[in-house]
């Protein structure tokens, strides 16, 4: 009883402190709005707006029809350039694709001779090179087929019915927003708790608390519940207003289950934040420590690139981070409408990692008690 009371009152104090911390409040607002909205809205990982140029040496009705069929949203309006301009334009990154339609192309093809179209691709544009070629292939093939009204044969021998599940139209904003959302939760949990601890150490109030009849565990739990609660509320708001309204992304998974997962995750990452708060001796040091850890969590947790694509050592290492399991959990719940029977494994792992982080941080907190900062 006494234990819970102390945690409750201390937690309320944390929330009051946070309310006065302008830098953190700004960071939080910014993170939950701009940090989610801008990348989701503006970063197309999908094939959009590819810059394309055409060298038309054939200059026939067919060749013109071919390149006018490359349409938005996949391609920008093709520019007509000369053969000798290809190199310079591509080196400067002005065009990602250049189509070379040779002279006598339409003549050859109508005579049934072999006719080649060359596609120059800037293969440093990783997000477009392969997919773009694929689109060009499809579009041109079907245009040529239509133009000659070919009797399509082998094409029909086996039909392919491709259905994309969970995100039928492959909107990359769905993926980006949720990915950023997960990153923001982790980042803020670490910064808020870490900064809350450093602030108390810098002001000397932590010593004050430890002179009172309070245990380090109570102090830690108070920070965890209060900062966790603030983040959960802010994230729900952001989920509703930014992801739901501003980006109009349908949220189809079970929100209740997602909240349970988020709370477990917050337990783990706020503990990590406290751990960093005991390692760093000042706010700037916390900032410098925080950066590499957050980048690792954001980049290697499987949100951007699946774990399977990484070297084995990194795959094993990343299992230790709660973010890896949370990425797995949230993409299953939010995208694939998974229920508890599917995600219980990752949920449990998050909680176990959380307990380990908590115990380690508690040890550190006890040790750093009284160490002089100023």
């Amino acid at each position: 009883m006494k234990f819970l009371q102390s945690i409750f009152w201390l937690g309320l104090k944390e929330i009051a402190s946070l309310r006065q911390d302008k830098v953190m409040l700004f960071l939080m607002t910014f993170a939950f709005t701009v940090f989610i909205y801008v990348p989701a809205k503006e970063t197309g990982l999908e094939m959009r707006n590819a810059a394309i140029a055409v060298v038309d040496e054939d200059n026939s009705p067919l060749s013109r029809q071919l390149y006018t069929s490359l349409l938005p949203p996949y391609f920008q309006k093709p520019h007509i350039i000369q053969f000798n301009e290809i190199d310079k334009n591509m080196s400067q990154g002005i065009y990602t694709f250049v189509l070379l339609i040779p002279s006598k192309f339409s003549q050859n093809i109508s005579h049934g001779n072999e006719a080649n179209i060359q596609v120059y691709i800037d293969a440093t544009a990783m997000s477009q090179a392969v997919i773009g070629l694929d689109y060009i292939n499809q579009i041109i093939t079907s245009e040529v087929t239509q133009f000659f009204n070919h009797e399509v044969s082998a094409q029909d021998l086996i039909n392919l019915n491709i259905r994309v599940r969970f995100n039928e139209n492959l909107y990359s904003s769905w993926f980006m927003s949720v990915n950023q959302f997960i990153n923001v939760i982790g980042m803020l949990a670490i910064v808020l708790t870490g900064a809350a601890l450093i602030r108390e150490r810098e002001h000397g109030t932590i010593e004050h608390l430890l002179v009172m009849p309070l245990t380090p565990a109570e102090i830690m739990l108070a920070k965890i519940w209060s900062n966790g609660l603030v983040i959960v509320l802010a994230s729900l708001l952001s989920l509703k207003l930014i992801i739901g309204e501003a980006l109009s992304i349908p949220i189809r998974g079970e929100i209740g289950l997602f909240i349970i997962g988020t709370c477990s995750y917050l337990f783990a990452v706020t503990s990590l934040g406290i751990f960093l708060g005991t390692v760093a001796n000042s706010m700037p040091q916390l900032g410098l420590l925080f950066l590499p850890i957050v980048v690792v969590m954001n980049v290697l947790s499987g949100g951007i690139t699946p774990l399977d694509n990484m070297p084995f050592a990194i795959q094993y290492l990343m299992k230790v981070f709660p973010s890896t399991h949370f990425v797995e959990f949230s993409s299953a719940v939010l995208f694939r409408q998974a229920d508890l029977t599917v995600v219980w494994g990752s949920l449990l792992t998050i909680i176990v990692i959380g307990i380990i982080f908590f115990s380690v941080s508690l040890q550190r907190l006890r040790k750093t008690v009284g160490k002089n900062l100023s």
Binding site: A123, S127, I158, E207, L291
Partner: protein
């Protein structure tokens, strides 16, 4: 008003901080060659007035003339910098803690344009005169308070100023060092009688030695005149009383009286025996013994950093002692014992209150944490609010309160649970004498009426005299203990201060400090010779390479001596490149799929073999029904399902065009899109093979030949790793740089930029230079990691990359400088830089999607941020074999960014504080 002998003339100066009035219509004049003092407690406007006179702060209203010249004019102020020295408040605030004594002096000497020979001679003289010579190599941060102040004085005197402005130079310093400090000033004054000295102080005893005084209170001058005149005017014996008498009547109070302590065989409340604390090889507290009886007021008297705080922390259980033990009421101190803590009330040096809570909330929080019952809580809060005169501020935020009130609140919080022992660590520092008396009245009541044992530390003599017994502490040791009378009579001194000085001298004699004494006395004989004169460089030039170099040199040493920053700066980028190089991969292979074969004939197996044979696909499992397939897909075990319909084989034979179903997980759209492409490719291929074998050649001969340029194998690392390199060289230099300037603002050493003839560009470029070099080292290490570790070959010109990178880190450090000119805290600078740089450098630099495809806001962000241009250079040189002709526009853009950033920084970095 132009008098020939007038050095400082202040006319009707008024200054506000936001709404708050700091100085109201002050006029003051100081004669050449005099020692003038500003007296008054903290927060009355002394520091504001001094910084206005020194030209460090911008004058809001009124005028200040120095040497009959108006310092409101910028060119006048720049010239006068050479004739003024300013030493701000706070122990060693304008010193650089990680630099040695000599390095600090060298830095200041360089700022004033002294040549090598002048400098050595002058520094040696100053070090000898102050007795710092034996410590020339010690970092300033490790000096004692007294030595720091001497070093501060040396730095101020390095350019032989005509006007020396000292802001509370001796606050918090032990009495012996204080004495030595003033003797030093006296000697310097004897050498250069024309030098005028303006001092602010809260020690009234010191002020008695000055030629003229101005007593300040609440931003107004109460009285001016010589110390004698002030005493006569108020009919008092000394300045302390004179000052009290000068104040408006409502603040005056009956004199403090503390009834004598009755020992009456009371039990021992606190006992320390052989208490010792070591931090590494530094002994903070050395075998301290004392015994404090219940209800006694026991004082610890000593300078800053002598071990008072550490001793107190051991008694509260915050720090475990290295050796020895402490007992409370006969029980050994146990840091984990919660019941012990209920007996202790603790008030620390910086009033550990929650600034973000109101007065009442602070009390309430502590009452709750001590588990007072509901009724008791209300009663105690009510009682304490009235007793500590806090009722009228009960609902105000603590952060806005004056020090005196914070102090009373802090005491209220410490005693809310009625502790038997009260431990107070310098509770009255920075509070004016009247508030201090009120505070002592409260302590006296607690001790005498409620029998609370009070253990208090202080560096004020007159406060120590009020204690029942005191302990004199110095350098971790207790020199003597007993009642004031006993200590004074033992040394046959006139007062406690004199006695303390004798104790200090005794202890110092025994240590190896004779060398210092010697050098001081030898200096005395020298001083009769004519003082060395220095040629003054009074013309202020726009850019002095010497000063610029001084800043660069100093910054370099500081970075080298801060391990966390240094390690982050060197290893951070390498670590991040490796992480991101592996992490951001757009290669799509090893796609795990499940097979749902309803047909199970040779035809279906033949079709599926086409997928098995592809290097992109990796069969994970074979499922029997739709649910299983669905489950595996939901769980994320596989990314696609290939479903062969029943009758597949038969339909092929009958040419009925069977339909193969492909389900793709769309959670990662980029991968899904690529998977779709690959599936179609495999399918097409299969059909072509089939049609060739069946020899039905009716299809036209269209062939689309892809020419993958620059990266034939289409592997992510060739594009991503050089791209990440560009991203890292954007935000890491900017972050390191941004912190560097704000640090000076936070620590206070930015004053040296305000008070010396440093120009904006000297300061900006001097600080930038080390970070440019550091970032260039980063570039080289990133280059090596990219080339050797990731195996990305350099196809273009290496030197083009080197030049481009050099220019680029110049531009990104300039961006950091710009950010740090308008932020005020290190945290804000760090996160501000992160926010400003991270989205444009990752999302809109071309790292993820090509810049040519961006539109709208993204395109704007990419155009007006330098990252995209540099990414063109790194990817261009590494992978595209781009030439100067290809990359020229990018180089020009980067140079343009550098110019714009620097101009803006210079615009936003004021030469004066506001």
């Amino acid at each position: 008003m132009d008098k020939p002998d007038e050095v400082v003339s202040v006319t009707q100066v008024t200054h506000h901080y936001k709404q708050q009035l700091a100085l109201a219509d002050i006029s003051l004049s100081i004669e050449k060659g005099s020692i003038a003092g500003l007296i008054g407690p903290d927060g009355v406007g002394k520091s504001t007035l001094l910084s206005l006179i020194a030209g460090v702060k911008k004058i809001q209203h009124g005028e200040v003339h120095l040497f009959s010249q108006n310092i409101k004019l910028n060119h006048v102020r720049n010239q006068l910098c050479h004739r003024i020295a300013y030493m701000p408040q706070g122990l060693g605030k304008n010193l650089y803690a990680t630099l040695s004594v000599y390095e600090n002096l060298r830095f200041f000497s360089q700022l004033f344009g002294q040549n090598h020979q002048q400098r050595r001679q002058h520094i040696e003289e100053l070090l000898a005169a102050t007795g710092l010579a034996p410590f020339a190599k010690r970092p300033a941060g490790k000096l004692s308070g007294g030595m720091k102040q001497k070093l501060g004085l040396c730095c101020a005197l390095i350019h032989d100023p005509d006007l020396l402005i000292l802001d509370e130079p001796t606050t918090g310093v032990d009495p012996l060092s204080r004495l030595q400090f003033w003797e030093l000033i006296k000697r310097i004054k004897a050498r250069t009688p024309d030098m005028t000295i303006l001092v602010a102080t809260a020690y009234m005893e010191e002020a008695e030695r000055y030629d003229s005084l101005a007593a300040l209170y609440n931003g107004k001058i109460l009285a001016t005149g010589s110390p004698k005149a002030l005493c006569q005017q108020t009919l008092t014996k000394n300045l302390d009383e004179a000052f009290k008498a000068l104040q408006p009547e409502h603040t005056q109070q009956a004199n403090l009286s503390i009834p004598p302590y009755q020992q009456n065989s009371k039990p021992v409340a606190i006992e320390a025996s052989q208490l010792t604390k070591r931090f590494g090889d530094f002994t903070a507290v050395d075998q301290v013994n004392f015994r404090i009886y219940q209800g006694e007021i026991f004082g610890f008297l000593g300078s800053n950093g002598c071990g008072k705080t550490t001793t107190m922390k051991m008694l509260t259980g915050l720090l475990p002692p290295t050796e020895g033990k402490a007992t409370l009421f006969g029980e050994p101190m146990n840091s984990r014992s919660l019941s012990h803590r209920k007996n202790i009330g603790f008030m620390s040096q910086n009033f550990s209150l929650y600034q973000e809570l109101t007065v009442k909330q602070n009390l309430l929080l502590h009452a709750r944490l001590f588990q007072l019952s509901h009724d008791e809580t209300n009663r105690r809060i009510h009682e304490l609010l009235s007793r500590m005169s806090l009722a009228n501020v009960a609902d105000e935020l603590t952060v806005d309160l004056p020090l005196g009130i914070k102090q009373r609140l802090s005491l209220a919080v410490a005693i809310i649970h009625r502790p038997k022992i009260l431990i107070l660590d310098e509770p009255t520092s920075g509070v004016d004498p009247i508030a201090r008396d009120q505070f002592w009245q409260l302590l006296a009541e607690l001790s005498r009426k409620e029998n609370v044992t009070i253990f208090i530390s202080t560096h004020f003599m007159n406060e120590a005299e009020r204690c029942d017994r005191i302990s004199l502490m110095h350098a971790g040791k207790v020199l003597a203990a007993g009642t004031t009378e006993k200590l004074v009579s033992e040394k046959q001194a006139s007062n406690l201060e004199a006695a303390f000085i004798q104790y200090l001298q005794e202890s110092e004699q025994t240590e190896a400090d004779q060398k210092t004494q010697l050098s001081i006395s030898s200096r005395d004989t020298d001083s009769k010779q004519s003082p060395p004169t220095l040629k003054k460089h009074s013309q202020a030039s726009l850019l002095s390479w010497q000063r610029l170099w001084a800043y660069a040199q100093r910054e370099t040493m500081e970075i080298q001596r801060d391990p966390i920053r240094f390690l982050f700066a060197l290893l951070g980028p390498i670590f991040l490149l490796v992480v991101m190089g592996y992490g951001i991969s757009m290669d799509v292979n090893h796609m795990k799929y499940a097979v749902l074969d309803h047909d199970q004939t040779q035809y279906s197996r033949h079709y599926l073999e086409a997928f098995e044979g592809s290097k992109y696909f990796q069969q994970q499992l074979v499922v029997g029904n739709n649910q299983q397939a669905e489950h595996a897909l939901t769980k994320g075990e596989i990314e696609l399902v290939i479903e062969i319909p029943p009758q597949f084989g038969r339909q092929i034979l009958k040419k009925e065009s069977p339909e193969v179903g492909i389900w793709i997980d769309g959670a990662m759209p980029f991968r899904a899109e690529t998977i779709r492409g690959y599936v179609q490719g495999v399918h097409q291929n299969y059909l072509q093979q089939l049609s060739k074998t069946s020899a039905r050649q009716t299809y036209h001969q269209l062939k689309i030949e892809p020419r993958f340029r620059y990266n034939q194998s289409i592997e992510s690392i060739y594009a991503i790793v050089p791209g990440v390199m560009a991203t890292l060289l954007t935000f890491i230099p900017a972050m390191l740089m941004a912190v560097a300037v704000v640090r000076e603002k936070e620590l206070g050493s930015i004053t040296n930029y305000y008070a010396t003839p440093t120009t904006r560009l000297e300061f900006l470029w001097g600080k930038q230079l080390p970070y440019i070099s550091l970032s260039f080292i980063n570039f080289i290490s990133l280059f090596l990691v990219t080339w050797l570790f990731f195996g990305v070959p350099v196809k273009g010109s290496f030197w083009l990359l080197v030049i481009g990178s050099g220019l680029y880190v110049v531009a990104t450090t300039a961006l950091g400088l710009l950010i740090s000119t308008f932020t005020t805290t290190q945290v804000a600078a760090l996160f501000g830089t992160l926010i400003i740089t991270i989205i444009p450098s990752i999302n809109f630099s071309g790292l993820i999607s090509p810049v040519a495809s961006l539109s709208g806001g993204a395109s704007v962000m990419s155009t007006y941020f330098p990252a995209a241009y540099y990414l063109n250079i790194t990817v261009g040189v590494f992978t595209k074999a781009a030439t100067w002709a290809d990359l020229k526009p990018n180089f020009l853009a980067i140079i343009g960014f550098f110019i714009v950033f620097t101009l803006l920084s210079a615009l936003f970095l004021p030469k004066q504080e506001h």
